[in-house]
Symmetry: C2
Subunit: 137 residues, 2 copies
DNA sequence: TACAACCAAAGAGTGTAGTCTATGGTTGTA
DNA sequence: TACAACCATAGACTACACTCTTTGGTTGTA
């Protein structure tokens, strides 16, 4: 995740005219799924008005970042809708610093809760293992 | 969650003739969803052969336990199919002692992996929080 | 006996997150 | 110029986990 954001400041935008397949190769997300994300409003390609022969979408480095963010956010358990909000928070200036921090804190709390639940489950399974070993069930 | 398993040994089976609505009240799961779980093979009601006028399902305390287990397991992120396996391992005699232990060990490993993933995500979010605090994005 | 509350079964509908197919046009290389 | 590889759009299809509706029968209480 952090890598994604560091890139934002280190990378020079060398490629602002990627087509969908290049995007797919760069991110490992299929073109189909990228179109699905575009339809869902997570990313947005641009059309080149000067080109009349086709209406291909062009994507830039920021889109690659966003897709990498999507991969990470999905891994944490964000839904597409939440990721949409997240991208808004990240890339638009709709949210204040405090709002961004609150957003992240909220996710930290829910992660802690999940970890607590998993540990509880571990304890339980261990207990049950003992019962199995003692032929209690 | 632990409570569920302690119950298994402490509780006397005082109610073996619950109908679906009582089950729903006891667990907070709707009758609809309970029927869905029954159709999915997670729980199993019994029919009273001596009653000819209806074919209502009757449930016992073990079903309540199972439903409570389902609630907890879902909260941790188990799918219905996984919970089905889990319940088999718990309540059936389909599996040998060694198989049960292997199953439980497998669950412990996957829980550890999940916890590791969540901790990694926490670290990433914390790092990003710092970036926000430092106005780096 | 009227009637509300309950029961089962079948199947349709919902939301999420894709995944695939079909169609038809475009681009680049031999 | 043939043709593979690419592109967009629309819409069908999938899996998961419900959720609701319909239909028709049963039970309990006033």
């Amino acid at each position: 995740m952090v890598v994604v954001f560091l890139k934002k400041f280190i990378f020079v935008k060398k490629n602002t005219k990627m087509l969908i397949n290049e995007l797919a190769k760069r991110t490992g997300i299929t073109a189909h799924t990228i179109r699905f994300y575009e339809k869902s409003g997570l990313i947005k390609g641009k059309r080149d008005e000067t080109i009349k022969s086709n209406n291909y979408f062009h994507y830039d480095e920021e889109t690659v970042e966003k897709l990498e963010l999507i991969i990470d956010a999905k891994a944490i358990g964000y839904t597409i809708n939440e990721i949409s909000e997240l991208i808004d928070a990240w890339y638009s200036n709709k949210f204040s610093k405090d709002e961004k921090l609150a957003f992240l804190d909220e996710k930290l709390v829910s992660l802690d809760q999940k970890i607590k639940d998993l540990k509880e489950m571990k304890k339980l399974i261990s207990q049950y293992k003992e019962d199995v070993l003692d032929d209690k069930c």
